[in-house]
Amino acid sequence: MEQKNILEIKDLHFSYNKGDEILKGLNFSLDDRTTAIIGQNGAGKTTFVKLLKGLLRPTCGSILFEGKDISTMTVAQLARHIGMVFQNPNDQIFKNRVLDEVMYGPLKIGMSETVAKEKSMAALELVGLSGFEDKNPYDLGLSSRKLVAIASIIAMDTKVIIFDEPTIAQDFYGKERIKSVIRKLRSEGVTVITIIHDMDFVADVFERVIVFAKGGVLLDGSAKDVFADEAILKEAYLEQPNVTKLCQNLGYEEVFLNTDEFVTYWRKKTG
């Protein structure tokens, strides 16, 4: 199936200080597929995401959103198209009522009160927080607060949503909820991108994986193809998901991304 490019990255360069290039000419496109960008600390992942949001501007090269160069758009204009969920919900949340928090973004980008409320209620339902509208976000536990932060971005109805380290400080339940939210967003046609260090989570949820290293792209492919390549991952200071590692040690040619895949395979073999 032909994938429609949402974002095109063309010869993208960036440096904070002259002579010390952080991104050294990136070229790739992002489409509907859920995409995880992984790499060592300092590989340029956060810088790249800030460029997508227009918070930083390229020193050279360009980013096109649906064919249009984002350098012609202000940060405020871009906010209608590309949303980002902060790593720590406490850095994002500032209102004392859940519904106010979720409606803040939609109102800021010019939705009417009625539409903003409708979108916000739908977003809260999608993350499983219907009925929490009048609560104070700070009375909620960390995983629910994270979901409030996610809902406030979903409500803005952007084409692209970036998750910055979605699993940090999340327990098992929290991670499972975030997984299901990402799957729902995917099915609704939102392009989900993440920068993340949690390989098991990536293997479970993301279709495409891009490995950043030293300001360039080292590897780009389906989760199965990327996680099969132990040597390249090592070079990028990463590691294989736990199940993939175990199965490779056991001598299997197939690449297994999660426990279910392997257990099903094993049962079939043993009858």
Binding site: N41, D171, M199, E239, N242, L246, N249, T259, F262, V263
Partner: protein, 289 residues
């Protein structure tokens, strides 16, 4: 308390604690004891009391975070609550969950930041320099020594926070999710560094959501839920419990596979918890297939 625990490094007796302005116990009658040099993993879902227990071991609860406190914690027979923090910090160090909350804000370089704790203990300059250099090398951050602490990335800041505690050479180190922002290999390096300290006789408490790491590094694991201690045992026995779902705890991927396939380690009667253990068991099964 049993007599055998009388000489333990750390003894926690019926510890209870309630934060100000809340109406529930964050810690609810916790008792256990730990020997010198043990590597203790602390697990449980969000709000189960993990961070509060860490703060209590380091004396910040109740000396910094006020609230209602009951029971006691003894480190080498000293009651934590009654020891001045300035004294206690030589015995026990804590690495916060968010390194941002730990940085003093009063120092302009990473080197000075790591020196901060030592400056307040009156240690000789040569000894300070030696300890700072060692800590920076252990955490691989010597190359950032002249940077401003706030110009560091999250991962670099976490390494600096750990180094600044290690430089103090406390006998007990409490780490609250210290590697959440590190890349996988960086995380593994930090675990190996911490394991080295534990082998040298430093007692370690580690809060972590990554169960594979807990399983492969901990001598014993504390399982908390709703402020109560549910279990305190080896990783093998903890992760072989059938009720972990109830406590919002994921088992290591290796354990999950073996549970599904009903493969127990005949030696321990438990499910495997590490890659090596699962490999041994599965490769044997595979040969017989």
């Amino acid at each position: 308390m049993a007599m055998s625990t009388e000489h333990s490094k750390i003894i926690v007796e019926n510890l209870k604690y309630k934060y100000l302005a809340t109406d529930f116990l964050a810690l609810d009658g916790i008792s256990f004891s730990v020997e010198q040099g043990e590597f203790i993993g602390i697990i449980g879902k969000n709000e189960s009391g993990k961070s509060t227990l860490c703060q209590a071991i380091a004396g910040l609860v109740p000396n910094f975070h006020k609230g209602a406190y009951g029971g006691r914690i003894l480190i080498d027979g000293l009651e934590v609550k009654n020891v001045e923090l300035s004294e206690l910090c030589k015995k026990v160090g804590i690495v916060f969950q968010n390194p941002f909350n730990q940085v003093t804000g009063s120092k302009l370089t990473v080197y000075e930041e790591i020196a901060f704790g030592l400056e307040n203990t009156g240690i000789e300059k040569q000894e300070m320099i030696r300890r700072i250099d060692d800590a920076m090398e252990l955490l691989d951050i010597a190359k950032y020594k002249d940077r401003n602490p706030f110009d560091l990335s999250g991962g670099q800041m976490q390494r600096m926070a750990i180094a600044s505690i290690i430089a103090m050479q406390p006998e007990v180190i409490v780490l609250d999710e210290p590697t959440s922002q590190l890349d996988p290999q960086g995380r593994e390096e930090v675990y190996q560094a911490v394991q080295k300290l534990s082998k040298k006789g430093i007692t370690i408490f580690m809060v972590e959501h990554n169960m594979e790491k807990i399983a492969s590094y901990s001598d014993r694991v504390l399982l908390l839920d709703g402020g109560r201690l549910i279990d305190f045992d080896t990783p093998q026995r903890i992760f072989s419990r059938e009720d972990l779902d109830t406590y919002g705890v994921e088992v290591p991927a290796f354990t999950r596979i073996c549970k599904e396939l009903n493969l127990k380690n005949p030696g321990t009667g438990c499910y495997p918890v590490t890659l090596e253990e699962a490999y041994d068991l599965l490769s044997k099964e595979k040969r017989e297939m």
